[in-house]
C-alpha cells in the first residue's frame, strides 16, 4: 500500500515495526529446515510458534485495544498473514484470527468482552468452517447438531459455526472432533460432529457474520498467498544462482530469466491487489468486498501458478519432499480452496460491482 493510504489511519511506524518483528521471529524460528522437520513430525514448531505469537501479541493484532489486542486492524492482519505465508509457518492463524474479526465486527459487547481477550492472549484457538458460505448446523431447543468440515487445529477450543439464523460459538472440549489429514501439513482441517451441543454464545445476523468471516478469511488467504508466492520465488531464484549446468548457473539461461521476470511481474501486481483490498476494507469502502473477493481469487491462483513454476524451475529436486517448492505448492492449493471457490468469488465480485454501478457509485476510485 502507499504511504498515503495508511498514514491517516494508523501509525505507519507501528506497522513497520510489526512487520520487522514478525519477520525476525519467523526467520529465526520457522526457517526452511524447521518447517520441513515439523512436516515430518520431528519438532513442535506449530505449538512453539503459537506460544511465541501469543507472547508477542500477534494473536490480538486485529483486535481493538479495549479487548486486549493491538488494534492494528486489517493492515496489521495482512502484515502478519503475509509473513506467516512467507515462512510457510504452521498453525491455526487463519481460523483463529478470522473468527476474532467476525466477533469484533458482529459480536455483542458481552460476546466481545468474553471471547476476544482470551483469543488475544493465545489461551484459546478457533475453528471456522473451511468454506463458510455453506449450510449451517441444525438448531433445536436441545442445542445445535450436525457435522462440519472446519479449518483449525484438532485441539481448537471452540468453533464459530452458522446455525439457524445466527452463528454460534460452541466449545469443543468433549465433542467429536477428528483430524482430516490434508496435503498441506502446515495447516489442519478437522471434522466436527455436534449433537445437541449448547452454544456458549450467539452472534445474530447470519448474513452479517458470514460476510465478516468471509472477508477476514479472504484477506488472510490473499495475504498468506502473497507472502508465500514471493518467498518461494526468492528461494527459487537463489537456488538457480547456485545450481550449475552446462558450466554456468542456470539463472544465466535467458529462457529461465524471462520466466523469472514474469514471476516478478505477477508478484508486483499481486502485491497491489492485496493492498487494494486491505485499503478498501480499512477505509470502510462500501464496495470493499468486491476487491476482497477478487484479491482472494487472484492471489491464491497466482500463488498456485508461481509455486507450480518454481517446482519446474528447480528441475529434479523441485518435486522432492525435501526441497521447499512442494511445501508452498501445497499451501497454495489449500489457500485456493479455502473460503469460497474462486469462480464463485468472482461472481460475488461481479454482483457487487453491478450493484455499485446501479447505485451510481464508481467502485474504481483510487484516490491519490
Amino acid at each position: 500500500m502507499t504511504t498515503n493510504e495508511t498514514a491517516s489511519l494508523l501509525d505507519q511506524d507501528t506497522l513497520d515495526a510489526l512487520r520487522e518483528g514478525v519477520a525476525g521471529v519467523l526467520a529465526e524460528q520457522s526457517g526452511s529446515s524447521a518447517v520441513h522437520a515439523f512436516i515430518d513430525g520431528k519438532n513442535a514448531l506449530g505449538r512453539e510458534l503459537w506460544d511465541r505469537a501469543a507472547a508477542l501479541g500477534w494473536l490480538g493484532v486485529g483486535i481493538p485495544e479495549q479487548y486486549g489486542g493491538l488494534g492494528l486492524g486489517c493492515h496489521g492482519l495482512a502484515i502478519l498473514h503475509n509473513e506467516l505465508g512467507r515462512a510457510a509457518a504452521p498453525g491455526p492463524y487463519v481460523s483463529t484470527l478470522s473468527a476474532a474479526q467476525a466477533i469484533v465486527e458482529c459480536g455483542s459487547e458481552a460476546v466481545r468482552t468474553a471471547w476476544l481477550p482470551r483469543i488475544a492472549s493465545g489461551e484459546i484457538g478457533a475453528a471456522v468452517p473451511a468454506v463458510p458460505g455453506g449450510p449451517g448446523l441444525e438448531w433445536s431447543g436441545a442445542g445445535v447438531s450436525g457435522t462440519m468440515r472446519c479449518l483449525g487445529d484438532p485441539d481448537a477450543a471452540f468453533v464459530l459455526a452458522p446455525a439457524g439464523d445466527s452463528w454460534v460459538i460452541v466449545e469443543l472440549a468433549g465433542t467429536d472432533v477428528s483430524a482430516v489429514p490434508v496435503w498441506d501439513r502446515t495447516r489442519d482441517l478437522i471434522d466436527i460432529g455436534l449433537s445437541d451441543a449448547k452454544p456458549s454464545a450467539v452472534l445474530t445476523d447470519r448474513q452479517g457474520v458470514t460476510d465478516a468471516l468471509l472477508r477476514a478469511m479472504a484477506l488472510a488467504a490473499a495475504a498468506d498467498s502473497r507472502g508465500g508466492a514471493r518467498s518461494i520465488t526468492e528461494r527459487t531464484i537463489d537456488y538457480m544462482k547456485t545450481r550449475q549446468q552446462f558450466g554456468q548457473p542456470i539463472a544465466g539461461f535467458q529462457a529461465l530469466k524471462h520466466r523469472a521476470a514474469d514471476l516478478a511481474t505477477k508478484l508486483a501486481v499481486m502485491d497491489e491487489m492485496v493492498a487494494h483490498a486491505v485499503h478498501k476494507t480499512a477505509t470502510g469502502d462500501p464496495d470493499a468486498d468486491v476487491w476482497v473477493s477478487l484479491a482472494k481469487a487472484e492471489a491464491t491462483e497466482t500463488f498456485v501458478f508461481v509455486a507450480t513454476d518454481c517446482v519446474q524451475l528447480h528441475g529434479g529436486v523441485g518435486f522432492t519432499w525435501d526441497y521447499d517448492p512442494q511445501v508452498f505448492l501445497k499451501r497454495a492449493r489449500l489457500n485456493e480452496m479455502l473460503v469460497m471457490a474462486n469462480p464463485a468469488l468472482r461472481d460475488r465480485a461481479a454482483a457487487g460491482l453491478a450493484a455499485a454501478t446501479r447505485a451510481g457509485r464508481s467502485a474504481l476510485e483510487l484516490g491519490l
Binding site: T2, I237, M240, K241, Q248, P249, A251, G252, F253, Q254, L256, K257, H258, A260, A261, D262, A264, T265, A268, V269, M270, D271, E272, M273, A275, H276, W291, L294, A295, A297, E298, P343, R346, D347, A349, A350, L353, A354, T357, R358, S362, L364, L366, L368
Partner: protein, 393 residues
C-alpha cells in the same frame, strides 16, 4: 480563482480543472477526430496545447524558471485524473517535447540550451526522437548514424526509425556515432537537430492499425551546429539514459487513468443494455479478473511516480515491471473486447484516437505498447538481470 491560483488547496484545484475542462473541451472533438486528416489532427493538437497554455497547464510539471508551474506529483495525478474523467484530448503530439526533452536538458543541457529549447515547447514546438535505427532496435548501442566534425558543425549521415510524429516535428533529439572505433557504448554523441535542415527526409511508417504515427528519418549530409550537442562528445550514451528514464511511468499513467474511465463506461453501458456476456460465467469472470489487474496496475503506476522523485529511482526496475504488466494487460483487455464484440467488431474503423468501441483498432494498436519503447523481451532481461540479480552470461 484561477487553476494555478488554487494549487495549495487540492480539492479546489481539482474543481477548477474540472470546471475549465467542462468549458474548454468540445463535446464533439472525438467524433471530429475520427477519420480526421493528418493536417486537421495536427491543427487540433496545437490548438489543445495552446488552450492548456492559457491556463498555465502547458508544462505544469516544469520548474517555474523555465515557464512551468512547478506543480507536485499529486497535482499531476489530479490533472491526469480530471483529463481522463472528462475524456479530454491527450497531448500525443507533444510527448517528446513535454517529457523526454526536459528529462534530458534539465540534467545535461547547458543553460543556453534550456532557455532556448524549453521556451519553444511552451509555444508549441513539436519534438521527435531519433534513437532507433533499422539495424539497432533492441541493441540500441549498436547504432551507426555517423556524425563527423567539420569546423563548428557536425555532419550527419544515416537513418533513424520508429520516430513518433517525426513527420510533423520541428526538432529532433538525435543519437549519433562519433567514434566508430570505440567500444559501442563509448562512441555515441547526442545532438539537437533542426528537422528543417537540408538533408532531412521523413517517410511515414504504416502500422497494422492503418495509422502512421511513426516515421523513418533519412539523414544525408545534415549539418548541426556544435552548440547543439548535449553533453560532451562521445558521452551521448549517458545522456540518453536520462532521456529513456524520463518517461518512467508518466505516459503509462495517463493511459491507465483513461483506460479506467473507458472500461467503466463500457461496463455501465453493458449493464444498462443487459449485455449477454454479463450472464456468461466465463466472460463475466474474465472481465472482473481484468478489472482487478487494472486496479492493481493503476496502483503500481502511482508507486512508479512516487519512486521517480526519489534518488534511488534510476536503480529501480519497477518501470520495467509496470511496462510488462500494463502493456500485456492492455492487450488482453483489447482482446477480450474483440472477442465479445463478435462479428460486428471486425468492421474496419480507423480512428485518430483510441477509445473503446472499435476493439480491433485498439487491439492492433496495443502492440505499440508491447513492442515500442524497449520491447517487452528487453524489459524481461532488465527485470531479471538488474532486478533479480540473475547473471548475464
Amino acid at each position: 480563482m484561477t487553476i494555478l491560483g488554487s494549487q495549495h488547496d487540492l480539492p479546489a484545484f481539482r474543481q477548477e480543472i474540472r470546471a475549465w475542462l467542462a468549458d474548454v473541451v468540445p463535446a464533439d472533438w472525438k467524433a471530429r477526430m475520427v477519420r480526421a486528416s493528418n493536417e486537421e489532427y495536427i491543427a487540433f493538437q496545437r490548438w489543445w496545447m495552446a488552450e492548456r497554455g492559457k491556463v498555465g497547464l502547458a508544462v505544469p510539471h516544469w520548474p517555474v524558471e523555465y515557464g512551468g508551474a512547478g506543480l507536485t506529483l499529486r497535482h499531476l495525478i489530479v490533472i491526469a485524473d480530471e483529463m481522463a474523467r472528462a475524456d479530454a484530448p491527450q497531448a500525443r503530439l507533444f510527448i517528446i517535447s513535454l517529457i523526454h526533452l526536459p528529462g534530458t536538458l534539465f540534467p545535461h543541457g547547458t543553460e543556453a540550451q534550456k532557455r532556448r529549447f524549453l521556451a519553444g515547447v511552451a509555444k508549441g514546438d513539436v519534438w521527435c526522437q531519433g534513437f532507433s535505427e533499422p539495424n539497432s532496435g533492441s541493441d540500441l548501442a549498436s547504432l551507426r548514424t555517423r556524425a563527423v566534425r567539420d569546423g563548428d558543425h557536425y555532419v550527419i549521415d544515416g537513418q533513424k526509425i520508429w520516430s513518433s510524429n517525426s513527420m510533423y516535428a520541428d526538432w529532433c533529439i538525435l543519437l549519433t556515432r562519433t567514434d566508430p572505433d570505440a567500444q559501442k557504448h563509448r562512441g555515441i554523441t547526442y545532438f539537437i537537430m533542426d528537422m528543417r535542415s537540408p538533408g532531412v527526409e521523413v517517410r511515414p511508417i504504416r502500422q497494422a492499425n492503418g495509422r502512421s504515427e511513426f516515421g523513418e528519418i533519412f539523414l544525408t549530409n545534415v549539418r548541426i551546429p556544435a552548440e547543439n550537442m548535449i553533453g560532451r562528445e562521445n558521452n551521448g550514451w549517458r545522456v540518453a539514459q536520462a532521456t529513456l528514464a524520463s518517461e518512467r511511468g508518466v505516459i503509462a499513467f495517463e493511459g491507465a487513468e483513461r483506460q479506467r474511465y473507458e472500461i467503466e463506461s463500457f461496463y455501465r453501458r453493458a449493464l444498462e443494455s443487459d449485455a449477454a456476456w454479463l450472464r456468461d460465467d466465463q466472460l463475466r469472470r474474465e472481465f472482473v479478473g481484468l478489472l482487478a489487474e487494472m486496479q492493481a496496475g493503476r496502483r503500481l503506476l502511482r508507486r512508479v511516480l512516487e519512486e521517480s522523485e526519489s534518488p534511488e529511482a534510476s536503480a529501480s526496475v519497477l518501470p520495467s515491471i509496470v511496462k510488462l504488466s500494463a502493456t500485456v494487460l492492455r492487450q488482453r483487455i483489447c482482446s477480450f473486447m474483440t472477442r465479445i464484440a463478435g462479428i460486428e467488431g471486425q468492421e474496419f474503423a480507423m480512428l485518430s484516437e483510441e477509445p473503446f468501441g472499435s476493439p480491433m483498432f485498439d487491439f492492433l494498436s496495443s502492440f505499440s505498447g508491447t513492442i515500442a519503447g524497449g520491447t517487452n523481451e528487453i524489459q524481461r532481461n532488465i527485470v531479471a538481470e538488474r532486478g533479480l540479480g540473475m547473471p548475464r552470461v
